[in-house]
């Protein structure tokens, strides 16, 4: 885990160091399915995925992709920050064999009483630069010379009224 960035140093447009995962093989997908005890066949049974569910190939689990996004944000927030909210939409499929680039960029910032709030846009690109998983997040960071973000995190009234919200929401 890295050191926590200070809110004072964060600006809109700042790009986080990306996270790369893959190539994601059938072994990766099977390992994830086993770890979470999810036996959905479209992630490891190619004939079922292609012939029965009419998919182009085995799918990288959405539940695995959202782990990668949370990892990127958690590592950026560091030990004294806190990933408060995350939203992702699974708009396009990622297929077995793909390498994923997980990215995030600061959208805007707000000052709360005890810490600062950072709104981010984020997503997952494949090797062809195609976006599959757009989303947004709100991360709390300490001020320079201030205390760490409180843990457990409490969304106090000034935080809730900060005007910093998830963008887009999940598809419904």
């Amino acid at each position: 885990m890295s050191q926590t960035p200070l809110f004072d140093d964060v600006r809109a447009g700042m790009v986080l160091a990306p996270l790369h995962k893959g190539p994601l093989t059938t072994m990766h997908l099977m390992r994830w399915s086993a770890a979470m005890e999810n036996w959905h066949r479209i992630h490891y049974d190619r004939s079922f995925a292609v012939e029965h569910d009419r998919l182009p190939d085995l799918l990288v689990n959405g539940s695995l992709k959202q782990q990668f996004i949370v990892q990127l944000l958690k590592d950026w927030a560091g030990p004294d920050g806190w990933v408060w909210k995350v939203s992702v939409q699974f708009r396009a499929m990622n297929l077995v064999g793909e390498t994923l680039r997980i990215w995030a960029r600061v959208r805007d910032t707000r000052e709360a009483q005890a810490f600062g709030l950072v709104g981010l846009e984020l997503g997952i690109l494949n090797a062809h630069g195609q976006e599959s998983t757009p989303g947004s997040a709100v991360v709390a960071l300490p001020y320079r010379g201030g205390p760490p973000v409180p843990y457990p995190f409490v969304a106090t009234e000034d935080v809730l009224l900060s005007g910093l919200h998830l963008q887009g929401g999940t598809r419904a």
Binding site: A35, W39, Q67, Q71, W84, V88, Y151, P152, R171
Partner: protein
Amino acid sequence: MTLVTDAVRALVGVWSEAEPACDPVEQGAVRRFAQAIMDDDSAYAPGAGGGTRHGGPIAPPLFPNHMLRRPLGTADVVQQRANDPDFDGVVPAAGLPPLPGLQHLPVLNGGSEFEFFRHARHGEQVEFRQRYAQVHEKISDKGTLIVVVIEGEIRSRDGGLLLRSRRTLLRRAA
């Protein structure tokens, strides 16, 4: 004819009773989970976190979201449907009743929202409450979709809130 029948609508908005996960936050399960997501954060290792504000080793942020599993002594759907060529392997989530007439439809994960409050610690017991927040039909270029939105809360057994979730599942009707 709509698939979102009165029987389906009757289940929308009704919170499940609090249901404990059948296992605590096990260090072996945390290790397998962390290795599967390829995040070897030292905070997940046994013995970590003694001097930190976490109060001990923790699980990855979304680990509790996957702790609602089938307890011993309950129906094994994988075995029951082992010879069913149409069984997609999706075992209904414990805690929520299946949606009548929709469970056979192919399902895709449409997206998620999470709100985090603290990490789960090794050895901690957690419990879940869930509800169907929305069920509605949507016409897309790929046919009719049934959009199912499930909201959940995960707490430690001492009542502390760990995270809230909002998942969107897409069931393909045609």
